[in-house]
Symmetry: none
Subunit: 195 residues, 4 copies
């Protein structure tokens, strides 16, 4: 165990190990022992910090979602104009995916089918995400920067784009410059719905 591990709590250590293994094998094919080995601790220790495998996943998702959401909100606020916000959002999303490849591949999983008990939670988060996007889009409409599109539809579209762009980045190792790509996506969206 490195010095770094000592400072980071065990809890943190376990979560990071779990993210690695979950992203490699998927939730159902990950064994608690593998996580323990990855973390360099004993199997039983995980249960001192997390009640169950499912709860471990849930906590990872919860925290990651918050982290992601917070980063996106932070970035967006650095600009006033809607077009810039979009560009910055896409850029930030790219950045997040590239910097947190393992986490990303868990965060954008189709949670519904990982665990039945997670469904409700997943639906809620999904709804939350959609709500944020709709508010964001509504803001653009209110500002007169974009046309009065169906915010629901637009949220799904925007969410779909962001939610699928990670696959080539993380899985295929697509080498693309995040600024260029963000610029292109922004162009397409703004041309598509801009005033």
């Amino acid at each position: 165990m490195g010095l770094e591990d000592l400072k980071k709590g065990k809890r943190e250590l376990i979560m990071e190990a779990a993210i690695k293994v979950f992203s490699r094998k998927g939730y159902n094919y990950t064994k608690m022992e593998e996580i323990a080995i990855e973390a360099g601790i004993g199997k039983g220790t995980i249960y001192e910090y997390f009640a169950s495998k499912l709860q471990l996943l849930q906590e990872i998702l919860e925290r990651s979602f918050q982290l992601y959401h917070q980063k996106m909100v932070e970035e967006i606020q650095s600009s006033i104009c809607f077009k810039d916000k979009i560009r910055i959002l896409v850029e930030a999303h790219f950045k997040f995916c590239q910097e947190n490849k393992e986490l990303t591949s868990i965060l954008f999983w189709n949670i519904d089918y990982i665990d039945e008990e997670l469904r409700a939670w997943g639906y809620q988060k999904q709804a939350e995400k959609e709500r944020h996007l709709r508010e964001f889009i509504q803001m653009g409409i209110d500002n007169g920067e974009i046309r009065p599109v169906d915010t629901k539809l637009m949220a799904v579209i925007l969410g779909g784009i962001l939610g699928s762009i990670w696959v080539p980045l993380v899985i295929e190792g697509w080498e693309v410059d995040k600024n260029t790509a963000a610029e292109q996506i922004t162009q397409i969206i703004m041309n598509g719905i801009g005033n």
Copy 2:
């Protein structure tokens, strides 16, 4: 066993039952017995037609993918102009999702993490899908109907939109008119990348 079941082969019957249960519970949480019950047959009978649970899923995916792909290709060919093609594609996608809700929720699963052995297959299909979309977009570029965008990026975007639109349709039961939505999406895309 109903009359309908007699006409449909057992194989078909089992696949349909499996689609229902898989879509309800997810692959890993589906027990072979549940499929058997859903099909109104004995557990052992499934194994007369499919070598294993995994193979049953694989066959469902393979067939569904073909069906989906074939339908999309068919529809697209009914028109010459790229814009119409886009609209028809989106419309057909909506139709497919609405008419095959259970199947859709399996087909757009993140196969990677359902079963390790399925990964290779999943990557291949994903690549295939992307290739088709890129060819389709390239055609639009060649026709001069759209700007010379990065086909890879655009394929990912288009795939992302289609691949996420099913969620509100199938899961939330979003009541949206497919023609209206298709028109809107087409508008956005064509504004975004049209010449």
Copy 3:
């Protein structure tokens, strides 16, 4: 189905097929379907002639045991002197093993552990075999041709020799002239216990 099969009853046909497969795979690893295929008939047909897999084996063993026993007795009676009887017995045993390789490898199985239900039967047959051998040996003693050895021990020895000689013959394909070998075995035994 050949002409020969038509004359031989189905019952016979099934038993012969079963002997082949049993001897190849062992009782527990033989599937009823394999027997059916070997016999060129349907799986269900076996059950028209035999109540169960176990009974099929039992009948094979019963019949084979009788056949074997009868042959040995027949041969033995063709001679008066004990030494000749021994030689002829060993010769006949060799002949039986060489001519009925598949059957032999079933007949000399350690029945006890093939099927629990077969135990009692196996013990009984074993006892019968031993009794015959002891009578045979006693006769030699009474005739004054051999020394008054412990008939039980001698029966076990003789049975052990006969019961193990089949292995190299059937499994390894040991090429040995039955007359020579019989002569040698007889010599050893007669030297060993002769007067």
Copy 4:
């Protein structure tokens, strides 16, 4: 769990339980749970020590074979004269069978038909055993203590005698003094092949 069990490793405990149940029921009719119950442990625990049912058997056989072989070799070396070696071998064999009844009834099973995968192993061990016996007999010939018999045939005979003598001892509970019986068998063999 008794005190004795604490000292003996779990591995040992499981093997002993397995020997008991295997010898009672035969390999195919033994359920892992029965072994666990016999050992007084949980079903899953067996798998902490043995990868599979087959491997458990294999290890038992391997170890027992070694133990048996070692004992026989040890005993034989305590004497120089061939006749004594034979007597001691037979005695030691009797002793082994009487002291390890359960193990014996497994060790002299017809492994071939217990499990297909075990065949190769069984053939190899059988060949090994035969080779040892042939060497042993050859030694007697070279010493001029016995006549130049066919060592292969003689090995089969000797192996057959030893390999069948356990049945009455273990199964029937034949009460025979090992010294007396060994003496008699030795007499027979030495008369049979001695110079």
